[in-house]
């Protein structure tokens, strides 16, 4: 079952359907799919009669990586792995909890909260794409939300909205980005009666750990212990995690290996040891994390470099107290370009970026410089404007070197399509019985799911 979040680029859907070997699509946009090629179910589509099919295979939960350049990677999980952190905590640990998340539940961080609610028997107040923060918080308050999670950017947005007043959750969790001391302190002031923790989790590495001492970073002792079956180590500065909560593979015809030979997933998150604590300092390869969405600098540079007055450019991350990071671009103008035209060129480049890139990828600040320096870490190599198609994107060989495990041909997957922003009801599993049987683990919990759904608050 491939879960597709609402911000999925429609241009990428066909490639994903092929890579995940999808047979059945559950969608609110049935017009987008070829009913001859797929079994299409969903809004206003009559369900076909059940076909006879049996399988003992457990549902494979497929999720998409966020904010990657080009087609997102498909990451395969099992329900056991997804629920690993929930079971480790003990479902009864949070009695009478009403859950909420600023994430979409089709993203890893949101699915964790959804599963906590259905497994633990609580209720959940869903998020809705595009909803104003004040309206969202009003629903959270009306629903009596006690436990809520989001990225530091989500939380900063809430703190700055003034909507946090009269909202008093018992537990506040941050994940998905670096939780700095300012946001931790801001939340402690706003929610003096709440426990506040920040968790490390990613779509690939699963839930790693949670820290609840109110300080940024994580204690080095976590690195040396095997806690709840989670092992961590730091190699070449990046955090590696091995546990049964990690995804088991990337899915696709030429998917790269997800873990190393020892089963450790390299998170790509670079940490630095300061005293007895590791601090996150950024992503390997200059990848920029903006509010939990990853941005590849080459993608931005390629757009900038197309401008005829640009000789070369560098897009990089700059720390932001609001969104964790923002994109800034340093640009070297071509020889002979009149410096008086800088304002015009800046406006033209910004306009082109806006036309070609998602809003969060458009440089917040553009600086014209005489030359580009290699960063202290040596991470950046000069990308000249003739390299208009970034090397990393042009060559897929290193990204997808070998097919690791041949996928079992004939296995059938279903695809949960995008949900329109206005759709308020939870998705029920309306696809054909073949698919349902394969989801027996999920179905086993359907009773709980339905009970929770009845209490959904909007």
């Amino acid at each position: 079952m491939l879960l597709c979040p609402p911000d999925l680029d429609p241009d990428h859907i066909q490639a994903l359907l092929a890579d995940a070997e999808i047979d059945a699509i559950d969608t609110d946009r049935p017009d987008r799919y070829d009913a001859g090629a797929y079994l299409v179910a969903g809004v206003n589509v009559t369900e076909r009669a059940a076909a006879g099919w049996r399988t003992e295979r457990a549902t494979e939960w497929l999720m998409l990586t966020s904010g990657t350049s080009g087609v997102p990677k498909i990451v395969g999980h099992t329900l056991d792995g997804l629920a690993g952190a929930i079971v480790a905590n003990g479902p009864a640990r949070h009695p009478n909890a009403t859950w909420a998340t600023f994430y979409d539940i089709r993203r890893y961080g949101g699915l964790q909260i959804f599963l906590r609610a259905v497994i633990g028997g609580g209720s959940i107040v869903l998020s809705e794409p595009g909803e104003a923060i004040a309206d969202h918080v009003a629903r959270l308050r009306a629903g009596g939300v006690t436990h809520i999670s989001g990225t530091p950017s989500h939380w900063r947005k809430l703190l700055m909205s003034g909507a946090a007043e009269n909202f008093s959750p018992r537990n506040v969790r941050l994940s998905g980005e670096i939780a700095d001391q300012a946001v931790l302190d801001g939340l402690a002031r706003a929610f003096p009666h709440a426990s506040i923790d920040h968790a490390y989790a990613s779509t690939e590495a699963g839930v790693g750990f949670a820290v609840d001492d109110g300080r940024e970073g994580f204690p080095v002792s976590l690195d040396r212990r095997n806690r709840d079956g989670v092992e961590m180590k730091v190699v070449d500065g990046s955090l590696r995690i091995r546990s049964h909560r990690t995804a088991h593979a990337y899915i696709g015809t030429a998917a790269p290996p997800l873990a190393d030979a020892e089963g450790f997933v390299d998170t790509g998150d670079i940490v630095e040891l300061r005293g007895e604590r590791y601090h996150f300092i950024g992503r390997r390869g200059g990848i920029i994390n903006i509010g939990g969405l990853k941005v590849h600098p080459e993608e931005i540079e390629a757009v900038i470099n197309r401008h005829e007055s640009v000789r070369m450019s560098r897009a990089r991350s700059r720390k932001s107290p609001i969104t964790g990071a923002i994109v800034v671009a340093d640009i070297v103008l071509a020889d002979g370009v009149d410096a008086d035209r800088q304002q015009t060129i800046r406006a033209e480049i910004l306009a082109r970026c806006k036309d070609s890139l998602a809003a969060y990828k458009v440089p917040a600040v553009i600086r014209f410089v005489d030359r580009l320096d290699v960063t202290a870490a040596g991470a950046w190599l000069c990308r000249h404007r003739t390299d208009q198609v970034p090397e990393r994107r042009r060559s897929t060989a290193h990204r997808r070197p070998e097919r690791v495990a041949p996928s079992a041909r004939g296995r059938r997957r279903c695809f949960h399509g995008r949900v329109s922003p206005r759709r308020r009801r939870p998705q029920h599993h309306r696809h054909h019985s073949d698919c349902r049987r394969r989801q027996h683990r999920l179905i086993a919990r359907r009773q709980t799911c339905t009970l929770a759904a009845h209490r959904l608050l909007h």
Partner: protein, 81 residues
């Protein structure tokens, strides 16, 4: 040009770039009601840092997150030189 004027000028420019219709900037206007989203505020703070050479949200350990335009301006005005 005062800090307040610089902040308002930067907000006007970002509003234009982001196609946001900025209401009259009064002290008690909630930041939410400016129409700026998180990204717009991140851009504003970055550009003000370049212009004023200060980022009060990063340097002050106890910087409270402002919720109105007046509070936002005061955060900048109150940064010791």
């Amino acid at each position: 040009m005062s800090v307040r004027s610089k902040i308002f000028a930067a907000m006007q420019q970002i509003a234009e770039e982001q196609k946001v219709k900025l209401p009259p900037l009064l002290d008690d206007l909630s930041l939410h009601d400016t129409g700026f989203d998180s990204l717009a505020f991140a851009i504003l703070v970055a550009r003000l840092e370049d212009d004023l050479r200060i980022d009060p949200f990063t340097i002050a350990e106890d910087a409270a997150f402002p919720s109105t335009v007046g509070e936002f301006v005061r955060v900048y005005e109150n940064v010791p030189a």
